[in-house]
C-alpha cells in the first residue's frame, strides 16, 4: 500500500483513558498502512509513552488542559505529533535512564523508549505553548522487512519538520 499524504488530528482530554485511546487509534492506522505486528507494537508503545508524557509531565494531569495528537501519512513515513499545554522541555535536560545512578528510578524511561522504537524522534516548542513530540517511522515497502536498530539513539537531526 502506498498512501497519499493524509492528516488526522484529535484533541484528547488530560485523562488516563486518553493514553489507551491514542494508542488504539494510531495502531489501527499503522496496521492499515501495512506495518508488521512487531512494528505496530513499537508504534503503539511510542504513542502511549508520548501521551503519558503529555498527560503527566506536560499537562501535570490537569483536566482543563488538552493533549493534541496529530498523525501524518506521507508516501515515505508515518509521522506522529503529540502536543501538550505545559511549559515545554529540552531533550538535553532529560536524565539518561541507562546511567548507573538512574537505573533504579521509577520513572523517566518514556522518552528513551520512544527514541528506541521509532526511526526519528525530536521534541520542539509546540504551537499550543507546551512541548511537541515529533516521531516517525518509515512505511514498509512491498516485501520489505521493516526494522529499527536505534536502541535508544536519538535521531533528532533527521527529525521531520513541524507541520504548520
Amino acid at each position: 500500500m502506498t498512501p497519499e499524504a493524509k492528516h488526522l488530528e484529535v484533541i484528547l482530554d488530560t485523562h488516563v483513558e486518553s493514553v489507551n485511546l491514542a494508542e488504539e487509534m494510531c495502531l489501527r492506522v499503522a496496521e492499515a498502512v501495512g506495518f508488521s505486528e512487531d512494528e505496530c507494537y513499537r508504534i503503539g508503545m511510542s504513542v502511549r509513552e508520548g501521551v503519558i508524557n503529555a498527560f503527566h509531565y506536560g499537562n501535570q494531569e490537569k483536566p482543563d488542559k488538552k493533549i493534541h495528537l496529530a498523525l501524518d501519512l506521507t508516501q515515505e513515513k508515518m509521522i506522529i505529533h503529540v502536543m501538550d499545554e505545559g511549559k515545554g522541555f529540552h531533550l538535553a535536560d532529560v536524565p539518561d535512564p541507562l546511567a548507573e545512578e538512574n537505573l533504579l528510578c521509577t520513572s523517566g524511561r518514556g522518552i528513551f523508549l520512544m527514541k528506541a522504537f521509532m526511526d526519528e524522534f525530536d521534541v520542539v516548542a509546540g504551537r499550543t505553548g507546551g512541548a511537541e513530540i515529533i516521531m516517525s517511522k518509515k512505511i514498509p515497502g512491498p516485501g520489505s522487512a521493516s526494522g529499527n536498530g536505534n536502541h535508544g539513539k536519538s535521531n533528532s537531526d533527521a527529525a521531520p519538520q513541524q507541520e504548520a
Partner: protein, 115 residues
C-alpha cells in the same frame, strides 16, 4: 474488564504472584503496587513475580517493577522475576534492568534461589 489479573500462592517461604494481562499506566500499575505493598506489610519479602502471561508492559509498569524491587529490598527481602515473555525480556534488556533483576525461566530453580 481489568487490565491485570493476579493470584498469589505460597511455595515454602516464597510468595509467587502469577500475573496476566497488562502492567500499564492506571489500574494495572496500581494493582501491582498495592499487591506488593500488602505482601510486604504481611511480612512476605520473598516475592517471585511470574510474568509468563504478561503480554504488555509500558514505562509505568517498568517503574512499578523497579519500585517493588526497591521496596522489598529495603525490607531485606528479594523480588525476582519468572518467565518473561519476549516483549518484557526485550524491554528489560534495552532499559538495562536485566542487570538489576534476578530473572528465572524455571519456577523450581527460582524458588530454590531464595534459600
Amino acid at each position: 474488564m481489568p487490565a491485570l489479573f493476579m493470584t498469589c500462592r505460597e511455595v515454602g517461604a516464597v510468595t509467587i504472584v502469577d500475573l496476566s494481562g497488562k502492567i500499564s499506566l492506571g489500574e494495572g500499575s496500581a494493582l501491582l503496587r498495592k499487591t506488593i505493598r500488602d505482601l510486604i506489610e504481611n511480612g512476605q519479602t520473598k516475592i517471585l513475580l511470574n510474568l509468563g502471561d504478561i503480554n504488555y508492559i509500558d514505562s509505568s509498569g517498568i517503574g512499578e517493577l523497579v519500585s517493588g524491587f526497591t521496596a522489598v529490598r529495603n525490607r531485606s527481602g528479594e523480588l525476582k522475576l519468572l518467565n518473561l515473555t519476549k516483549k518484557v525480556h526485550d524491554l528489560l534488556q534495552i532499559t538495562k534492568l536485566f542487570t538489576v533483576f534476578d530473572v528465572y525461566n524455571d519456577e523450581g530453580t527460582a524458588v530454590r534461589s531464595y534459600l
